[in-house]
């Protein structure tokens, strides 16, 4: 008796659920689903607003004008990158998921190797290469969504890393307002002057595993390209080598001589706290991406707003270890990342989805996206030239940083390599010698990439 009643209840729920889950197509029209890690009122709110308030109404109107009934649904979440990646991978693996999906550029390689995504011109056809928008997107930026020389998607934005410094503290320490360090030593020298100020952490150079990718992207890798090397060179990963050792040695110098605060690197909220300290004039020098400028110290809507940001926050290029020592013999270096859109290979409406995607990458749409601050630096040069003039830092990055920048290798082993690098810096900060830290790193790296054959040593 009880069992049957329970079964009836279960069945009732099932009915109710399937009743409200809404069919894929209503009234003969086509439904397209977009998925991104942004949500109204939460993470990347303006990105979600751009899609729901601009892209969807405009696109459906355009299609309607062509006599087609199209419904576009936005499936947004605003969670951490790791679960979003897991969900997206599971979706693509089983053949489900949205038609148009936003992913981090660094996942493209892993997803391609797993067969989750396919090159755009395989999914859509040759019309991709004929799209006029491509001429506006510089090659390096197109490569954010490329793997093995093939385009898997269109980039939706990029970024760049610079050295930020607090001009008030610099003035107090007798340092110039338009500071331009030429080498790592210049940074250390400025740090030593800042050290004389009471209660000030001279340098924040992200380290350790608690900061996750922020340690790698705003610490190890920009330093490494400053030694003239990339983490993945000639088909091998950089192991126990001179460049890795000199990067770790810089960490040692910063964190054993009182120039940096080791505790902050081992604090689970260390990055948040370093931002807070910077905004309260307690950190002198900080290596970060334009995100810091747009979303942290921004007087309008930043999480640690600085009312006089444009006056108090200085920025300069990241110097190579010494002049000319950077990759491609550069004096200054940077790292960039970015995300973009891929089309689900299982979509039933590939060419319609491409119409939507190319609309989203059109001049007007991207312009609206930038105006809503849904993206910092857009992939389109025409839009950047029109709009970024209003923001000195974004303009600086788009004109001075992007030409000298570098990107991470988009391989499945990268996340583990990145963790090994984070651990190595954490070891040094916790007091290990560079020699010991680099040996542990070599072990972890070998294990991560599947054998010593994939590692450069010596």
């Amino acid at each position: 008796m009880k069992i049957t009643r329970m079964a009836a209840l279960i069945a009732a729920t099932g009915l109710a659920v399937s009743g409200c889950s809404g069919g894929a197509s209503g009234g003969g029209g086509t439904t397209i689903r977009i998925s991104a890690n942004s949500v109204k009122g939460g993470k990347n709110s303006s990105g979600a607003e751009w899609i729901t308030d601009y892209v969807i109404p405009k696109f459906t109107a355009m299609e309607k004008a062509k006599g087609k009934k199209v419904t576009v649904r936005f499936e947004g979440t605003g969670v951490d990158d790791a679960p979003y990646k897991q969900k997206t991978a599971l979706d693509l693996k089983t053949g489900g998921g949205a038609d148009l999906i936003n992913i981090d550029g660094i996942w493209v390689g892993e997803f391609a190797q797993a067969g989750y995504v396919k090159p755009l011109n395989e999914v859509v056809g040759a019309q991709v290469d004929r799209w006029d928008g491509l001429q506006q997107i510089p090659g390096p930026v197109q490569n954010i969504m490329a793997f093995d020389g093939k385009k898997y998607g269109l980039p939706s934005g990029t970024d760049g890393r610079v050295v930020f410094y607090n001009k008030q503290l610099f003035a107090k320490a007798g340092l110039p307002a338009d500071w331009q360090p030429k080498s790592w030593d210049d940074i250390l020298a400025a740090g030593r002057k800042l050290k004389s100020l009471n209660g000030v952490t001279p340098i924040q150079l992200n380290a350790g595993t608690a900061m996750t990718e922020a340690t790698t992207m705003q610490g190890v890798l920009p330093l490494l390209v400053g030694t003239g090397h990339e983490i993945y060179e000639n088909g091998r990963w950089l192991g126990d080598t001179a460049p890795i050792r000199s990067v770790l040695d810089l960490y040692r110098q910063v964190y054993t001589s009182g120039l940096g605060d080791p505790r902050l690197q081992q604090n689970p909220q260390g990055r948040d706290e370093s931002f807070q300290r910077f905004s309260k004039n307690k950190v002198g020098i900080l290596l970060e991406s334009d995100y810091f400028w747009r979303s942290v110290v921004n007087p309008k809507g930043g999480i640690d707003p600085m009312p006089d940001r444009d006056k108090d926050v200085g920025y300069t290029l990241i110097p190579a270890q010494s002049p000319g020592k950077g990759i491609r013999a550069q004096n200054a270096v940077s790292m960039s990342g970015g995300s973009g859109w891929v089309i689900n290979p299982h979509t039933r409406n590939a060419s319609l989805v491409w119409d939507l995607l190319s609309f989203m990458g059109s001049h007007d749409a991207v312009k609206d996206e930038v105006q809503r601050s849904a993206v910092g630096i857009s992939p389109r040069q025409d839009v950047n030239a029109e709009l970024l003039g209003g923001d000195p830092l974004l303009n600086f990055i788009s004109t001075k940083v992007l030409p000298i920048t570098d990107v991470r290798p988009g391989l499945a082993a990268y996340p583990q390599v990145s963790t090994a690098l984070q651990k190595a810096t954490g070891d040094v900060v916790a007091g290990d010698s560079v020699d010991k830290a680099v040996k542990t790193y070599q072990q972890n790296l070998t294990q991560a990439v599947g054998g010593a054959g994939h590692v450069t040593t010596g």
């Binding site: 990646k85 081992q266 499945a412 082993a413 991560a448």
Partner: protein, 300 residues
């Protein structure tokens, strides 16, 4: 022989006076749900533990069976063994001792307490238990924070970084706070099932409070103590909340096993490796469970 015994006792004890089918019918819904939604995925997970499966990359498309490589790698890893040691300390300190003792103490003393005192304490203790994990993590980050944390404000120790200086101690105190409610509830329920007549006759025989406790109450609820200790140990052993608070910092000093899995298997989504460690954890849990049963049987 064993079969016969089973038959006989079945015939004697089944609800409905020997109708074995009816007994089976009672178990079917649970059995079905557990088989499909727990055992099946579990077996699948155990199989993944023998492969180099990842969520993405080449190994996602073509996972290879690597046999016991995941296991030898985990067991040979010093970080793993350190994490195991920390986990055992965590279980011993916060569950077996902390939650058990405080939970029983609360259940015992509040029995005869005034209504308001009882309501106040029980509400707070239960609140700590029913608040969602993410919320609780924020509360304890704020509570023990070095700059402006509540505890430092009360103790007048500004700048004291509890999570940094005593990561495991702080975690243990946190978990006692978090989980004591379950023990309190279970013991309260258990104590109410001890017939008052037994306590009454013990008291009439001149037994003190402690003697009543030792001779009447504890033996009466031995089964509940076993159940409680086992459950809270398992839950504590597999608790992920420490990650939400400390992320294993400083420098791995608070990395208990679930945190270790997260930190080592998640970069690159090495699900094969994660599954292997899960099985190792299962075996350790099994050993813990067997140890309890042993100890409690011997006492009996």
């Amino acid at each position: 022989m064993a079969h016969q015994t089973a038959q006989r006792s079945l015939a004697g004890d089944v609800p409905g006076g020997g109708d074995r089918r009816q007994g089976l019918a009672f178990v079917v819904p649970a059995l079905l749900l557990v088989t499909v939604f727990l055992i099946l995925p579990a077996l699948w997970t155990l199989y993944l533990g023998l492969t180099d499966y990842r969520l993405t990359g080449v190994q996602a498309a073509h996972p290879k069976v690597v046999g016991t490589a995941n296991y030898t790698h985990a067991l040979g890893d010093k970080d793993f063994r350190d994490a195991l040691g920390r986990t055992l300390l965590f279980v011993l300190g916060s569950a077996i001792i902390g939650q058990n003792v405080l939970g029983f103490l609360l259940a015992w003393t509040l029995r005869s307490a005034r209504r308001w005192a009882r309501a106040l304490v029980e509400t707070l203790v239960l609140l700590a238990w029913i608040l969602p994990g993410v919320v609780v993590a924020w509360l304890w980050i704020a509570f023990l924070k070095d700059q402006g944390g509540t505890l430092n404000a009360i103790l007048h120790t500004p700048g004291r970084d509890w999570w940094f200086d005593h990561p495991m101690g702080s975690l243990i105190v946190f978990n006692v706070w978090r989980g004591t409610a379950f023990s309190m509830m279970l013991f309260t329920a258990a104590l109410s099932s001890v017939p008052p007549s037994q306590l009454e006759s013990a008291r009439l025989a001149g037994a003190s409070g402690w003697q009543q406790l030792r001779d009447v109450v504890l033996p009466g609820i031995r089964g509940h103590i076993l159940t409680n200790t086992l459950l809270i140990s398992l839950w504590t052993f597999n608790d992920f909340t420490p990650y939400l608070i400390t992320k294993g910092e400083p420098h791995g000093a608070s990395a208990v096993l679930p945190v270790y899995i997260y930190l080592t298997a998640l970069p690159g989504e090495r699900l094969g490796f994660a599954s292997a460690i899960s099985l190792i954890m299962l075996v350790i849990n099994l050993l813990l469970a067997l140890a309890y049963i042993r100890i409690l049987r011997r006492r009996a």
